[in-house]
């Protein structure tokens, strides 16, 4: 009993950090209707800035208090920049665009921190007292209690601010109806900015205080957004008190789970506790929150003027695909070996990106779990071979089926969720899969990665180690690349065809307006499940191809931040267009564009960070100036001209008044 209480108390520290982030999430939602994925990165920024100011990283070292003050001033400035770059230009954009903008901020900020401060975790000098108090005869750091107390006080203060001040009243009014708030003389811009500064300073303050307790790492802190989102969901993105309480409970249960993992009854494997149980619990918490809290977020009365990206027709497919396919085939034979490898990897990544085109571009749901599903397919493939001796082609079929079923189950758990909230479920699912399956020494690859045999059919090696070599006589063999090319072209045509057919139209109807789709006889849940099934299927195929491409499956390739980068790059190029998937695929890690950059332009060790920087910045620029996506904008323009010339006569005949904008 005493150990339970002790570990519960030790969880207060990380619970407080989660609470700080959750408060930031709630403030973002109330201020501007954004589900702020970058709220976790706020803790990271504040932590690193404070660390740098205290330890003399910038050439001068400050005392604690001035360093805190300066850090908080910096956070206010950071909030203003984020507001001006990523929030204000999108005030009337769709919720998906707002969400993706916060993803851009997350990628950009993390890349900058990694470039400036490096990826090694830092020990931040402690701010709060190092004293301990004795609880049941065990020493517990006082800082845990102080931090938790500060967070509770912050939540109380914010709640009071919202209840009793003009600013709080204005925010509540604006989130009911921005139009009437604007008519009452309350500028939504000012309200949004105020909440943004408040959120970043509050979250940053908690980050500074907690950095010495939870550790300072640019790779782990941003992902604390997931438990924070779980807490925010329980709070319906509105209640500071609930968000804070649930966060502290999550911190406590994490600590208790850690303690329990040393108990004899805890499920173990080869003598050590099963990893990732905590992430699975967080995922289940989120699913429960969504079922319990009802079908969707409370609707904000936003002025949504700009809708989702346009979806150009897919016409003259053969004429577009053939030249690229031929170029790829030639490249797979004649280029030097590292470029041949990069082309093959680009083709595989293209298949993965096509899954984002389906679920995000066609169905309008932001799902980030696909890379994790690809990993599941790869590991299943490897284990079928290693444990049961099942090989090509049965093993990949089973692996694809298994990962697709898992994807559909995850999608089904989010069926009651409307619109962008799906990202919360899939983000938690991705982390849970990463920690629970990939990090498991038996199921996943552990530290070394799991080997995969090359595919062989009737004694013919179809893999990257086949005897047919490239022009320079080296590995990888073009055979696998050509196989990947065929698969990719087929799936590309499949996704393009989907857009033109009945299911594609129903998906776009659901994306536009779920109620109106139902009133047109569309089974909205069935369409979402079908969309999820297709996306999962594509991702699983990509996973199997990745495994054959590298002949090994390792957890590093399927990380959540890589998945977010991939989502972002598809969105930049045009999430509603198959061509966007192709370009994003060739820009993915290990593919052609990063290879070109690292060969001629950038230092090799940091190329992935620079890519993340480019994608994050590109996303913010694209959302601002070209909201449909770079490729979609040009395709839409061409299409509108064509349609206008086709229907021009008819339009004028019935006296239409075509308006300029769409």
């Amino acid at each position: 009993m005493e150990t339970l209480v002790l570990f519960a108390l030790l969880g207060l520290g990380s619970g407080a950090v989660i609470a700080g982030i959750a408060l930031g999430v709630v403030l973002s939602w109330r201020g501007s209707g954004t589900i702020n994925l970058a709220a976790g990165a706020t803790v990271m920024v504040a932590g690193y800035v404070f660390w740098a100011l205290r330890t003399g990283f910038f050439g001068f070292a400050l005392q604690t208090v001035p360093a805190i003050v300066l850090t908080l001033l910096f956070m206010a400035l950071y909030a203003v920049v984020v507001e001006l770059v990523a929030v204000r230009p999108l005030r009337s954009a769709s919720p998906l665009a707002k969400l993706v903008a916060s993803l851009g901020v997350l990628l950009l900020t993390q890349a900058l921190v990694l470039l400036i401060f490096g990826s090694a975790p830092r020990n931040s000098p402690s701010v709060l007292t190092g004293d301990v108090v004795s609880v049941f005869g065990v020493a517990v750091p006082e800082a845990q209690f102080i931090l938790a107390g500060i967070v509770v006080a912050l939540a109380g203060g914010l709640a009071a601010l919202y209840r009793f001040t003009r600013f709080g009243l204005a925010t509540r009014a604006a989130s009911e109806s921005e139009r009437s708030a604007a008519l009452a003389g309350l500028s939504p811009n000012v309200i949004s900015l105020g909440n943004s500064v408040l959120g970043h300073v509050a979250t940053g303050f908690v980050g500074v205080l907690a950095a010495s307790i939870v550790g300072l790492s640019a790779t782990t802190l941003p992902l604390l957004i997931i438990p924070a989102l779980a807490a925010a969901l329980f709070a319906r993105f509105t209640s500071f008190g609930v968000a804070c309480a649930v966060s502290l409970l999550i911190g406590i249960s994490e600590s208790l789970l850690y303690q329990a993992s040393n108990e004899s009854w805890f499920p173990t494997q080869n003598g050590s506790a099963i990893p990732g149980v905590q992430q699975v619990v967080e995922f289940l918490l989120i699913v429960i929150a969504l079922w319990w809290r009802g079908s969707s977020l409370p609707l904000r009365g936003d002025l949504v003027e700009r809708s989702l990206p346009m979806v150009p027709d897919q016409d003259r497919l053969a004429a577009r695909v053939a030249p690229v396919a031929i170029a790829c085939a030639v490249a797979l034979v004649v280029l030097p070996s590292d470029f041949r490898q990069a082309v093959a990897t680009g083709l595989v990544a293209t298949v993965l990106c096509l899954s984002f085109v389906v679920i995000m571009g066609y169905v309008g749901q932001l799902s980030v779990v696909q890379l994790a599903l690809a990993g599941v397919a790869g590991f299943v493939l490897s284990h079928l071979e290693a444990a049961y001796g099942i090989g090509f082609p049965l093993a990949p079929i089973l692996a694809i089926a298994a990962a697709t079923v898992l994807g559909v189950l995850i999608g089904a758990s989010a069926l009651r969720v409307r619109g962008v909230t799906l990202v919360v479920v899939t983000l938690a699912a991705a982390i849970a899969i990463e920690q629970f399956i990939f990090a498991n020494p038996d199921w996943g690859g552990g530290q070394t990665g799991a080997p995969v045999e090359s595919p062989k059919l009737f004694g013919l090696n179809l893999g990257a180690d086949a005897s047919f070599r490239g022009l320079d006589g080296s590995l990888p063999s073009p055979v696998f690349g050509l196989l990947a090319l065929v698969v990719t072209v087929v799936l590309y045509l499949f996704v393009a065809n989907l857009r033109r057919g009945d299911l594609g139209r129903r998906m776009l109807a659901v994306r536009s307006n779920e109620r109106a789709a139902a009133a047109a006889g569309v089974n909205v849940r069935a369409v979402k499940i079908q969309g999820f099934a297709i996306a999962s299927f594509l991702a699983s195929i990509a996973g199997v191809m990745y495994a054959y491409d590298f002949r090994t499956v390792s957890a590093n390739s399927y990380g959540t931040m890589s998945a977010l980068s991939l989502v972002a790059s598809v969105y930049v190029l045009g999430v509603t267009l198959v061509q966007g998937g192709v370009l994003a695929g060739f820009g993915a890690a290990g593919a052609v564009i990063p290879l070109i950059l690292q060969t001629w332009v950038l230092p090799e060790s940091r190329v992935s960070i620079y890519m993340q920087l480019i994608i994050g910045a590109g996303l913010l620029i694209q959302l601002r100036f070209c909201p449909d996506g770079l490729l979609v904008a040009s395709a839409t323009k061409r299409e509108r001209r064509a349609r206008a010339s086709r229907a021009g006569k008819a339009l004028t005949a019935v006296g239409a008044k075509p308006q300029g904008g769409v």
Binding site: S307, V311, F494, G501, G504, S512, A518, A519, R640, V654
Partner: protein
């Protein structure tokens, strides 16, 4: 008298502490256009939402004798219950023809899968008849964002009619139209009604309702206060005082002149 195509009985809806509808009975018989009128907040749109499954209600809903009261909205549509929206709600990423195509065709799952593997474009259902019925066949290739408000209304109606529904519920189709457009709309409605699609028509344009409908139901505070032929309802003193009131007395005169 032929049996009703739509029979809604004892429809009651509560929103929190507000009784939005209490025990409303409305029937629509073959060939009929039934008007549903009432002052703002009387529960007209709530009635459509309840019958089509978008608002939780008590009571029974039958379409052509089949109880659909427990079905989800899309299943009610498939059972023959069409509706339009006050705000039209077109699918903005699809052309007008594609908007209609979504409503025109409901293939089984295995058909869908087969089509995904063949040329899906070939499966586009014909929608021209619905566009022609409303006189907008020239708009087939236009995007919703390029249409005027009146055209959007017509497209929304065409979408409700394209799947050959047994009965259609129209939520303020004339709102936002000018007088000429509204009169034109009335002609289209009359023709669609004569072709055999019964309708329930909600609108604020009293002239349109009285000129188009065979039967009128008047709601106030969620209850039916009058029902009957347009000529009778128009003279009903309860209707005049409750619905038309003093502010709308001009409308009565206009209505009586017509």
């Amino acid at each position: 008298m032929p049996s009703p195509v739509l029979s809604a009985r004892g429809i009651s809806v509560r929103y929190g502490g507000v009784q939005a509808l209490s025990g409303v009975d409305i029937e629509v018989r073959p060939g009929q256009i039934v008007g549903l009128i009432g002052p703002n907040g009387a529960g007209k749109t709530t009635f459509i939402d309840a019958v089509t499954g978008f608002a939780r209600c008590t009571g029974s809903v039958e379409v052509a004798g089949r109880d659909i009261g427990r079905m989800r909205p899309h299943a009610r549509v498939q059972a023959g219950l069409g509706r339009t929206w006050q705000a039209v709600e077109l699918f903005d990423a699809l052309t007008v023809a594609e908007n209609l195509a979504v409503a025109a065709r409901r293939p089984a799952l295995w058909t869908t899968i087969r089509e995904l593997l063949t040329n899906a474009e070939a499966t586009r259902p014909p929608v021209g008849h619905a566009l022609e019925a409303l006189g907008i066949e020239g708009l087939a290739e236009a995007m919703p964002g390029e249409l005027s408000e009146g055209q959007r209304k017509l497209v929304g109606m065409a979408r409700a009619f394209v799947g050959d529904p047994k009965v259609v519920l129209l939520d303020e189709p004339a709102a936002g139209l000018d007088t000429d457009e509204s009169a034109e709309l009335g002609k289209h409605l009359r023709r669609l009604g004569d072709q055999g699609t019964p309708m329930l028509l909600i609108d604020h344009d009293i002239n349109l309702v009285f000129a188009t409908c065979d039967h009128v139901v008047v709601l106030e505070f969620g209850q039916v206060i009058a029902t009957g032929r347009p000529a009778d309802v128009r003279r009903d003193p309860r209707v005049i005082s409750a619905y038309l009131g003093s502010a709308a007395s001009d409308d009565i005169k206009v209505g009586e002149e017509s």
